[in-house]
Structure formats: C-alpha cells, structure tokens
C-alpha cells in the first residue's frame, strides 16, 4: 500500500490566463512526450504529458485551457473549471494546481491566483517569462509576493535552456509530499464584487512586491506604432497574408507533387507485381491512393501551421484580429476567421483545421461551415476544363479575356456565398445568441522559439494523420468500393465503372439531376468525384471512355464540347462553386466539430445551394438557347 502511495503517479494541472506562456511552459516541461486528445463529449483539446523528475517521481501534467477566472464563459473554460473542481467525469482531480502567470504582466494572473486560493487546494504560482522581466528591469520580491499571497512562488523561463530547472525541482519536492485528499468543494461562481475585490487585492500586492519601471516595453510600443497603424498596419497585414497564401498555395505544390508521384509510383509497382484482379485494384486504387490522398495534404497543413504558430508566438495574431475586426465583423465572422478562410483558397482541410485559432465555439463553427465555399485548388482542374471547352477565348473591352473573367466570377461567387451564408446564419439562427464582444489582450511581442514551434507542428501533423487520416482513408476505400463493384462481366465492352455501384447510383440520381441539366455521364462521374473534386475530370474521361494520355484533358474538352450544351456546362461550373464534392473536407469537419450533425448540416446546405444555383443557371441559360 505504502509503496504504491509513494511511487504512484501524481496528477498535477497547469492553469493560467491566456498569454501567460502556459503552453510554452507545458512544451518545455513535457517536450515531445505529449498526448493530444479531445475531452469526451466536447470539442476541447486535452493536452497531457509526463514529467519524470530526478528522484524518480512521475508526474502527469494536464495543460488546462487558458482562462481569466473560474466563471467559465466558454466550453473550454467550463472544462478548466470542472477539472479543477473534480467535477469532470473520468478526469482525476488535480492534486496540485500549477498556476502560470506572466512575470511582466502580473495583474491578471495574480487575480486568478487569489480566486483559486478560495478553493483550498494545493497551489503553486509560477512566474513565467522571468528572463524578459529581468531584462526590462522589473523587480519582483518573491518572498514578499509569496507571503502576501500565502502561496509558494517559483520563477521560470519556459523558452530558455534550463529555464524550468527550479520549477521541476520544486514539482519534484511537492510530488514527494503526502497526497492531499480530494474534498468536496463548496465553490460558487465569483460575483462581480468578488472579482473587483480580488483585482484590488492583486493590485495592492503588486504595489508592495513588484517594482515596475516607468516605461512600458519599448520594442512593443515601437512595433505597434507601425503594425497597428490604421493604414500601414493593414497594408502589412495584407502583405503577410499574401506571403502566407503564396506559401500554402505554391510552396507546398512541389512537395505535394512529390508525394502524389511517389504514391503513383508505388501504385504502379503494385500494379506490376500483383496479378491483375481485385486484390491489385484494392491495393493500388483503394489502399495506396487512399493513404496518398491523406498524406498529400500534409505539406499544406505544415506550412500553414508554421505561419500560424510563428504569428501566434510572436504576438501578431491578436494584432491581426484587431485590424480585421471591423471587416470580418460586418459579415458576422470573428476577426480571426480570415486565416482559416484565406487558407481555404488552397484547400479547405488546412483551413478548417486552422479554425482552431478561434476560441469561441460559435464563431469557430461558423468559420468551419463556410470555409468549404472558398474556391479551393482542387476546383481549378474542373473549372479550367469546362471553361476552355465552352467559353470562347476572346477579349472583352480589349482588356480582359472572357475566360479569365469567368474564372474570376467563380472565385468571387465563392467569397460572396461564404460571407452571405455566415451573415444569414447569424441573422436567423444565432440572433438571440450573445455574440461575445471583441475584447482581447494585446500581448508584448516575443521572439518565437524554434523548439516550441517544432513541437507544435509535430502535434498538428500527428493529429491530422491519426484523426482526420483514418476518416479520410475509410471514405476513400468506400469510394473505391463503389467504383469497383460489382466487377464487369467477362467480355465487357464498356469501361469497368459502367458496371459498378457508382454507375448505378449515378443512373439512380440522374432523374434528380436532370432539372439542372446533368446527363447520366455527369451523374456517374460525380460519385467517384466525391474522393476529391479534380477526380471528377478523370472520372468523366473514364465514363466517356477516353484513354489516358498526354492530351487526355484536351480530348475530354473536345468530347464535352460536342456532347454538352452550354447550359449544362455552365450549370456544372455553378454546381462546383457550392457542391460538397469532397469527402475529405466532410471527414475533417466531422473530426474538428466532433459531431456528425455539423457535417450533415454542411453537406445539406451546400447541396441545397448547389442544386438551386445550378437549376437557376441552367434554366436561364437554356431559355436564352444556350
């Protein structure tokens, strides 16, 4: 019994205000030994990791979502409150609350400590970023601070080598102490007057124990003079966004090509090694291209999150939200939604994952819901094919090419649709809801640390491959199954897909799609086209029995131009603006929102929009004899 009690794993929790450097400290303490999961039933990230101390104590450390108080204003903060109070089902009540505060900005952190003290649980205050405080000549009397608060205090510099040694030593000591039995807490939500009293008390203690230099951080002040300048600030933000968009869009391309040609080569190899038949098809078209279709997104996701993590750690993200607040707010979107939406021009999958930068659940859902409307790069092959086949290459007003104008109109339609949907959703569904007002801290600028960035990137990559990857992969296998079964009979004259379930579904939905001008070939191609939008081009080729080759795309164009009416072509273009033709995106939405419901809502509203818009387009174009 005793042995177990002494060597047993101890459960400590990190708690702190946003911007206290809590995550950097967690990264420094647990390194790459982190587990990221979701708390059951909520879409809040649960980060935990193990710390093994010099004397052999093992501490599991949970990084609780940042919060200003235990009042819990959001699902994230509710998790923090419930775990701290030992009310969260399945979570061990932390034996020690390690409260992280920014040493350069103690007011908010100390108020939280004073609030946490009321719980009567063991508490340790960590003054993080002590190196920056020293450099800025902020003097803190640790003994007096500890005496006034009645809480032990240690310092740490999460981003410095050895900056957490004192803290780890202290945690080791506390892990050796006897356990404090969990007790029923008599906590009640903090009232306004208690909050005010706690802040006054924090300010009183700061006046006693902290010597602040008269000047605020000069670097931050100087940078903000430019970066928050009404005009220059916006121009710089646009430039940063442009570079980021370029990076996700073009820098990732060589890597993505490399990955997809690697998987193609692997597929071709299996094609040669394995005998022709079902197994060969399953391995090549099901498994290998299924795994490939997951891994191919990795470069975009890594590049995008590299930018996000750098901007976040530098302290720029809050400034960007400040600059974008009015622009995004008009459409009912959060100031931070511009990064997910911009990234969605490359691909909705990294975009939807990037919606994690938005703390508020309602705002995050709204962004995820409209992100797939932004014109992603997978639509480009479909658009270019149809435009080059149907839109004459002539100039308009001697300035623009008509084809270019149509392309631009398709992009613009996506943006306008995204903004309108979010505006309407806010108006109809969330009108009664309290929109949390735009209020946030502008933290001092800090140099991002490569190690912390690397850990963050690694976590994202692992999470994408494990969580989204499994769903995307299984959807790919399902689509392969639909396109391959049943097998064509002996001596079949038409292409194999014509005998498959996909073709049956295509024929079955054809009457439904006839009013928007789609023939059965389009209907059939739309089924494997769920794998990814550009797959529809190849599927059309297969259905029209065009041999793959160097100028296959050109051939498809000729065939389509001779077989479709202009009205059908335009309707298909419009269909692709709105239609949820991407199983991977739907899989990621399911994973990120943690529910089938939001996936179904996205699928439903996009399908309805697509159908309606193509029907209108087809009817009008047909009426004009197109």
């Amino acid at each position: 019994m005793n042995v177990i009690a002494r060597t047993g794993v101890r459960h400590f929790a990190l708690i702190g205000t946003p911007n206290s450097g809590k995550t950097a400290l967690f990264n420094a303490l647990t390194g790459s030994r982190q587990k990221v999961a979701n708390y059951p039933g909520v879409t809040v990230e649960r980060k935990s990791g193990a710390v093994e101390t010099a004397s052999g104590n093992i501490i599991t450390l949970v990084d609780l979502p940042g919060t200003y108080s235990l009042r819990a204003r959001s699902p994230d903060e509710e998790v923090t409150r419930d775990v701290v109070l030992g009310r969260f089902p399945g979570e061990t009540m932390p034996e020690l609350l390690v409260c992280v505060a920014d040493a350069t900005n103690l007011r908010l952190g100390l108020r939280l400590v004073i609030e946490l003290k009321q719980l009567g649980r063991p508490l340790l205050l960590v003054l993080n970023m002590i190196d920056i405080a020293h450099r800025r000549a902020i003097g803190i009397d640790l003994d007096q601070l500890s005496a006034e608060l009645g809480v032990p205090v240690v310092t740490a510099a999460a981003v410095r080598r050895g900056g957490t040694d004192v803290l780890v030593h202290r945690l080791d000591q506390m892990a050796g102490e006897p356990r404090c039995p969990p007790e029923d807490s008599t906590w009640t939500a903090t009232t306004t007057s208690e909050l005010r009293a706690a802040q006054r008390e924090a300010d009183r203690i700061i006046a006693l124990a902290v010597h602040m230099p008269m000047k605020p951080d000069t670097l931050t002040t100087r940078l903000d003079a430019v970066l928050l300048h009404p005009l220059a600030g916006l121009l710089i933000l646009l430039f940063v966004l442009f570079v980021m968009f370029q990076a996700v869009f073009t820098w990732a391309q060589p890597l993505m090509d490399l990955i997809s040609s690697g998987f193609d080569a692997l597929g071709a190899l299996t094609h040669e090694v394995l005998p022709a038949g079902l197994l060969q098809s399953f391995i090549q078209d099901g498994v290998i291209s299924g795994v490939g279709s997951v891994v191919v997104f990795l470069p975009q996701i890594l590049i995008l999150f590299l930018f996000i993590l750098l901007l976040e750690d530098f302290g720029y993200m809050a400034r960007a939200a400040f600059l974008m607040d009015r622009i995004m707010g008009g459409a009912g979107l959060h100031g931070r939604a511009f990064i997910p939406l911009l990234s969605s021009f490359a691909c909705a999958i990294p975009g939807i994952m990037a919606a994690r930068v938005i703390d508020n659940r309602r705002d995050r859902l709204m962004t995820i819901l409209v992100a797939p409307l932004m014109t992603c790069s997978a639509r480009i092959p479909v658009y270019t094919l149809i435009i080059s086949a149907f839109i004459p290459a002539r100039e308009v007003w001697g300035l623009f090419s008509l084809q270019g104008l149509v392309m631009f109109a398709l992009y613009a339609a996506g943006i306008i649709a995204a903004l309108s949907v979010s505006f309407l959703a806010k108006f109809f569904f969330w009108r009664e809801d309290q929109t949390p007002p735009f209020m946030l801290e502008l933290p001092d600028y800090k140099l991002p640390r490569p190690r912390s960035i690397a850990i963050g990137l690694l976590t994202r990559a692992k999470m994408f491959l494990q969580r989204a990857g499994t769903t995307i992969f299984s959807m790919m296998v399902v689509i392969w199954f639909l396109a391959s079964f049943p097998r064509p009979p002996e001596g079949a004259t038409r292409s194999a897909i014509d005998y498959s379930l996909a073709a049956m579904i295509g024929h079955w939905i054809e009457p439904l799609l006839a009013p928007v001008g789609f023939n059965w070939q389009i209907s059939v191609a739309l089924v494997p086209g769920m794998a990814a939008r550009e797959v529809a081009v190849a599927a059309l080729g297969t259905v029209y029995a065009i041999q793959d080759g160097k100028d296959a795309a050109e051939q498809i164009g000729h065939v389509l131009a001779s077989q479709w009416s202009l009205a059908t072509a335009l309707a298909l273009l419009v269909w692709y603006i709105f239609a949820p033709q991407c199983a991977s995106t739907l899989a990621v939405i399911k994973r990120e929102t943690g529910s089938w419901r939001w996936m179904a809502i996205t699928f439903g509203y996009m399908l309805a929009l697509a159908y309606l818009a193509s029907w209108v387009t087809y009817s009008i174009a047909a009426a004009f004899g197109g």
Partner: protein, 94 residues
Amino acid sequence: MSESSQSLQERQYVPLGEARRGFRGRIHAIIVKEGTSQLPAEELERRLIELGFIEGALVEILHEGIFGRDPIAVRVNAASVALRRREAMAILVS
C-alpha cells in the same frame, strides 16, 4: 445634487469609448447600462474587470482602427487590451 454640479461631473468624467487616440486618464467607475453591449450589463462588467479595467487603473488610448476609429487599443496600467468603442462606453474616465 444641483444642476450645475451634475453638469460639472458629466464634463469631468467621459466614457473611454468617446476618447480619442492619445487620451490618458484614470478610471473613475465602470458603469454598464443595459444595451451598451450585446452582453448583459453584469456580464460585461465582469469581463472588463477580468481584463484589468477597475477603478483607479491608468488608461491610455494607443491606437484606433481605420474604420470609424474602431476598435481601440488601450493601455491599462502596464498591459494592452483591444476592445470596441461600444463596450468602452461603460468605462468612465477622467
């Protein structure tokens, strides 16, 4: 309270939401009227306190947004906070 002293008080204390860039002052009171924000008055007051806006704190408007000079970046004692003018109307300063 006589009429003249009331107007004197009104002149003395202005809402932070009406102050311009470069304004420096001290918080006199947090008074939230219903309808100031989409949040209930009590909740907005608590959120303002949680960001450090309490009586006696020093404030300075550092930056303004480009559209309608909104939102504003405010220094509160030693830290910076961004908020909209609408919510800043609840902060009376002198």
